[in-house]
């Protein structure tokens, strides 16, 4: 088991390396010139050359990449233009072309908002998705099942920007029950935080619980036909024990897998949600960076979300071992 974990971590690091190299390469071959973009209005050829030197864009791609990687592990030193040298300690992802802030600081700044959306929404969609899926499976064919699966089918085919904007129009603009979505610190202003996050949570949960409901229903129905559920009935267990301890337990593994990956993906940036509700999270950071061609920030956000997805994958695999003794014992 331990050696398996090490293998997974090593391969995760390799994947991160590959991701960074690809992103680096893509931006190198783009026709846009970051030096010109960061040069501003009063720009001269001279200044561009200087900026290009400062940003180390005059180096070859392998050298740039090598320094980038070195920055992550041991930190690096920038020439810092006319002023003194800039010391960027590890892990260093460089400086934003736009704001000159360190990328790591930007990421750290934006993570709480994204994490708030991701964790809050995931609790909500798990609760709704699992319970409606279980009820549907147990009442298969009844109107309860048909209605909940109908809603689920409808919800699964909607899009965040549609649902989000409609909800915002109703709850913020018309009824004024909720403030405009945004982010405040949950530690300082917990109530404001919850109120501002409510719409993103509801929107995401609405769409994702539909998927989880269908997944849970299908899994439960499959497991209900298993021999071991028949054994549980033959033992005289109560329906509650059969459904939750035996059936749901058998059906939970694929749900956990999908959940881990969804959560990991969201932590890297709930791009559309943040964009729709204008929340200063990682997703917003990356969309802004893309529209400004802010190379270091783009690379930083891509690597950050890749990092979360890889971590989620490893965690899901470990969870698999916890959930399935067959995996654990091998």
């Amino acid at each position: 088991m331990f050696s398996y974990l090490i293998r997974r971590v090593v391969s995760g690091v390799v994947v991160l390396g590959i991701v960074s190299a690809i992103v680096f390469g893509i931006f190198f071959i783009l026709p846009a010139d970051p030096a010109r973009l960061s040069c501003g209005k009063t720009c001269s050829e001279e200044l561009i050359v200087k900026i290009r030197h400062t940003l180390e864009l005059d180096q070859t791609l392998p050298v740039q990449y090598g320094r980038f990687i070195k920055g992550i592990f041991v930190g690096r030193t920038y020439l810092g233009g006319t002023e003194a040298e800039l010391n960027c300690s590890a892990p260093c992802l460089g400086y934003s072309f736009q704001t000159d802030q360190p990328v790591t600081a930007l990421l750290k700044d934006r993570l709480p908002a994204t994490a708030s959306i991701a964790f809050g929404a995931s609790i909500l969609w798990l609760l709704i998705g699992l319970s409606s899926g279980i009820v549907s499976a147990l009442r298969r064919g009844t109107w309860v099942d048909k209605m909940s699966q109908g809603v689920a089918l409808g919800a699964a085919s909607l899009q965040i920007y549609f649902v989000g904007l409609v909800l915002q129009f109703i709850f913020v603009n018309k009824l004024a029950w909720l403030p405009t979505p945004g982010y405040s610190s949950p530690f300082q202003y917990p109530l404001d935080w919850a109120k501002q996050m409510a719409l993103p949570w509801i929107t995401l949960a609405f769409l994702l619980s539909a998927i989880y409901s269908r997944l849970t229903r299908a899994g439960m129905i499959e497991i209900m036909g298993e021999d071991y559920v028949r054994t549980a009935r033959a033992k005289g267990l109560s329906n509650r024990t059969i459904n939750l301890k035996h059936t749901l337990r058998g059906a939970i593994t694929p749900i956990v897998t999908v959940f881990g990956l969804d959560l990991g993906g969201l932590l890297g940036g709930a791009v559309i949600t943040e964009y729709v509700f204008n929340i200063p999270g990682l997703g917003k950071l990356s969309t802004d960076a893309v529209s400004n061609l802010d190379l270091p920030v783009i690379i930083g956000t891509v690597m950050f979300s890749a990092f979360f997805i890889i971590i989620a994958n490893i965690l899901v695999d470990l969870l698999y071992a916890v959930l399935d003794p067959k995996v654990r014992i091998q």
């Binding site: 050696s3 090490i6 293998r7 091998q330």
Partner: protein, 323 residues
């Protein structure tokens, strides 16, 4: 006797799980150095419990698997390591019938296509055309020749097994390996298929390797029987000797475990009850692999693997064979 198949020291080890990063991978010793011969037109039975390697042996002989070591000589040709394309002409003479008549027929092909597939693969056109020959074959195995246009799901389990048999017969093979051909069938259907195979074997003088776990079924089909245990052959003898006078303790135990249908005979039979299950082929017992369940085992059994030696008309691998 001229033999159609000669197997010498045949071994197949499968890679198993790996337990640590630098540790060695487990080796599943599915078949471990078995030797036997099959004469032309002879029906030999290969019996044993799950994990004894009988099915693996069948797949090695038909070269659906690559042997780890040892030699398979079919019709005078060493086929142990032939490639797929080199095997193609040989497959005309060497066919296999599988246990599961549901899984071994392509559900999207008509019976005609399935039975004719050996002609297509072998690039052979039979006398009178493919369709005529297919209908003949269907008739031989007791199916309605008019049904060549139907699909497998339209047939019952026993009929599907007949389709598999027709396909195996198409090129008039010299040897057919039948891997548990009746164990998935209902009791009343088993006898039909056993009778059919027996008739075909005699009629076309085909050698058969009949792989089964059921000793009574093998008795009704094979002239000679080999008993396998945990990758080894422990006893080979002609049928009457093996069933009336088993020499290996395992054979004896196996025979005594078969439930008796006649209520009056139950009390009168000698009962030998083996303890435990068959050990794991990843880590088989040292020396004689049967010793952990054998009531006759002595020290020598743990150290020296017994060789397959002639005792009377039987060949037995045991340090303390029955007389």
């Amino acid at each position: 006797m001229t033999s159609i198949l000669k197997v010498e020291g045949l071994t197949k080890h499968f890679p198993g799980n790996k337990h640590s990063l630098l540790g060695k991978r487990d080796v599943v010793q599915a078949v471990d150095g078995i030797s036997f011969e099959v004469a032309k037109g002879e029906a030999i039975g290969l019996v044993g419990e799950s994990g004894c390697g009988k099915s693996t042996t069948g797949r090695l002989i038909t070269r659906l698997l690559e042997p780890t070591s040892g030699k398979i000589e079919f019709n005078g040709i060493d086929i142990s390591h032939l490639s797929n394309s080199q095997m193609r002409p040989i497959r005309e003479d060497l066919q296999i019938i599988f246990q599961d008549p549901y899984a071994s027929l392509n559900p999207r092909h008509t019976v005609g296509t399935i039975v004719a597939s050996p002609f297509r693969i072998g690039g052979v056109t039979p006398e009178g055309g493919v369709k005529k020959r297919v209908q003949e074959l269907l008739e031989i195995v007791g199916l309605n020749p008019e049904h060549y246009n139907r699909y497998p799901h339209e047939f019952s389990g026993g009929q599907r097994q007949r389709i598999g048999i027709a396909r195996a017969l198409a090129l008039r093979p010299k040897l057919i390996v039948a891997d548990e051909p009746v164990s998935a069938l209902d009791v009343s259907i088993q006898a039909q298929v056993i009778n059919l195979l027996k008739d075909l074997q005699k009629q076309f003088d085909i050698a058969f390797i009949f792989i089964a776990h059921d000793l009574a079924v093998v008795r009704h089909f094979a002239q000679r029987v080999a008993v396998m245990y945990l990758g080894n052959i422990v006893e080979i003898a002609d049928r009457d000797t093996l069933y009336s006078n088993p020499k290996h303790p395992y054979t004896k135990a196996l025979l005594s475990a078969v439930p008796e249908v006649d209520p009056d005979a139950i009390g009168s039979r000698e009962r030998i009850r083996l303890t435990g299950d068959v050990p794991n082929p990843i880590n088989p017992p040292s020396g004689c692999r049967f010793r952990t369940r054998c009531w006759k085992a002595q020290d020598i059994c743990a150290t020296n693997p017994p060789e397959l030696l002639h005792i009377g008309s039987s060949q037995v691998a045991c340090h303390f064979p029955e007389q």
